[in-house]
């Protein structure tokens, strides 16, 4: 089919674009090279032997994993709601969904405290009814991460839903499928790549979360001290340990991303 396809002038883009493209690439990769070059590889085993490192890594993976599941469970229906035809106030709703994306994470942490803190709008009745307080717990870490990560998933899935062909859903509906069946058997499989890439984005954002977490959840080894918080604190006492933690976090995220890519994204 594609033998001897005539080359058309102007297709393929101007060559001059490769210059800023390469500068962009160098800008993204350069700092990582700096990190890898300066890492004290020989002392790495000794630096990472600290049980606090394993604690922080485990906490980071568990909390960001739960936050991602939470994002999928809440975010996919939210994205679905946003694309419903005739939804009143759609642009306002979408703007509200995007707010945590543009807001500094520390502000997000303060906002979570104002809602769920010990003196928070919902925190006070929650403590009165159940005796539970959320700040300084692993739950707070998960909530802070989900709060900043959810918009990434919603926007990604919303885009996928918007570009999906609605005729499949209509066909299924005319063949007698009820709404839930259409959503479950047609809509979700149709936008699965969008959900997967949204989940990966949300997970990456959750894993790197710092500002909202230290503000809302604080920092305690094994309970609320995630890898980014541990890196920040280590930078003050022992920069070598901070570098070691950073390469571990870098390695784990790249590894997981590569695994997920093979599994789901490129299908």
């Amino acid at each position: 089919m594609t033998v001897n396809r005539p080359r058309i002038r102007g297709v393929g883009g101007p060559v001059a674009l490769t210059v800023p493209a390469l500068v962009g690439l160098a800008f993204l990769v350069g700092p990582l090279i700096g990190l890898v070059v300066r890492t004290p590889w020989r002392r790495l085993p000794e630096l990472l032997a600290d049980p606090a490192v394993a604690d922080a890594l485990r906490l980071s993976l568990v909390a960001s994993g739960i936050a991602t599941v939470l994002c999928v469970l809440l975010g996919v229906p939210l994205a679905w709601l946003l694309v419903q035809p005739g939804l009143p106030g759609r642009s306002l709703l979408r703007a509200l969904v995007t707010v945590p994306l543009v807001m500094p994470p520390v502000v997000g942490g303060v906002a979570l405290l104002m809602l769920l803190g010990r003196n928070g709008v919902l925190g006070v009745p929650l403590a009165a009814l159940t005796g539970l307080t959320i700040p300084f717990t692993t739950t707070a870490v998960v909530l802070a991460e989900a709060f900043v990560a959810l918009p990434f998933l919603v926007l990604s899935v919303e885009g996928a839903l918007r570009s999906a062909d609605r005729r499949y859903e209509e066909a299924a509906a005319t063949l007698g499928a009820d709404r839930l069946t259409v959503f479950r058997r047609v809509t979700v499989p149709l936008v699965l790549p969008g959900i997967a890439s949204g989940a990966v984005l949300a997970w990456a954002r959750a894993l790197g979360e710092f500002g909202a977490t230290v503000t809302f959840a604080g920092s305690y080894p094994g309970r609320t001290q995630t890898m980014p918080v541990a890196v920040y604190l280590a930078l003050e006492s022992s920069p070598d340990a901070a570098l070691a933690l950073s390469v571990v976090l870098l390695f784990v995220s790249v590894l997981l991303l590569a695994l997920l890519r093979d599994r789901w994204i490129t299908r």
Partner: protein, 254 residues
């Protein structure tokens, strides 16, 4: 079509043109600028000192940058441009003087003590240091890597107490914020922070045995861009007027 791009770009260009203009005007009018890196516990006191100093030296602009002393020391080691460094303890100052970024043994210009900060009304009924060990109380300490955290560990060790806090905060202001917001029943902070927080926070004294005193050293960096203005600022800080401002903020005078 051709109008769309310029429309988006024009405000951006205007902003880019205005930023250097704004910078120039402040330099042009003020003459010189002295950049001071100061421990976050100095926030309120140094803002007062700056106002007084600038009134007496109208040609000098004081730029204050606050953070945990450890963070600031780290930034200086990475080449952050500053003229003066005021740290909350000798250890963090040592990070800077030991590598020759500033003269050794800089003078102490103030001293500070720890106090227990509790929210107004004292919901946890904290009467003294041993109360911090009560499991049902929400308590935060500073991370042991920053001066207030190191001092807190010293105080607890001296009192032979084991406290498991709910969080190790990244600097004294972060710990204070948790008290001001009423999220915790108590935090170990500096006396000056309790004083600065006004009536939202009440201070509870530590027992004499656990009284840890932090020396605050101040140094002029060897790489100071403006050593003359830096010397003037440090001299002012150590003058009777500067010392009175620090004393009013709750610092002890050496």
């Amino acid at each position: 079509m051709s109008r769309r791009l310029p429309r988006g770009v024009a405000p951006l260009l205007t902003m880019l043109l205005l930023i250097p203009a704004a910078g120039c005007s402040s330099i042009g009018v003020a003459g010189q600028r002295v950049t001071v890196f100061a421990a976050s516990s100095l926030t309120e006191a140094f803002r007062t000192v700056r106002a007084d100093f600038e009134r007496r030296h109208p040609d000098t602009d004081v730029v204050l940058s606050f953070g945990s002393s450890a963070t600031l020391a780290r930034q200086l080691l990475q080449g952050a441009p500053a003229d003066v460094f005021a740290a909350a303890d000798r250890r963090t100052m040592g990070m800077v003087t030991n590598v020759g970024l500033a003269p050794k043994d800089p003078p102490t210009f103030a001293r500070n003590q720890l106090q227990i900060a509790v929210p107004a009304g004292n919901p946890g009924r904290v009467r003294g240091l041993p109360d911090l060990a009560r499991a049902e109380l929400a308590v935060v300490l500073c991370a042991p890597t920053v001066p207030c955290g190191a001092a807190a560990q010293d105080a607890l060790r001296a009192a032979d107490l084991k406290v498991l806090p709910d969080s190790y905060e990244k600097d004294v202001k972060a710990a204070m914020a948790k008290v001001v917001l009423g999220e915790v029943d108590a935090a170990l902070v500096y006396r000056t922070d309790v004083l600065a927080a006004g009536d939202k926070v009440v201070g509870v004294e530590l027992p004499a045995v656990a009284r840890v005193v932090n020396d605050y050293p101040v140094a002029i960096l060897n790489a100071a861009a403006n050593p003359q203005a830096a010397r003037a600022f440090v001299a002012y800080l150590r003058s009777p007027v500067g010392q009175r401002a620090l004393s009013e903020a709750g610092f002890e005078i050496p």
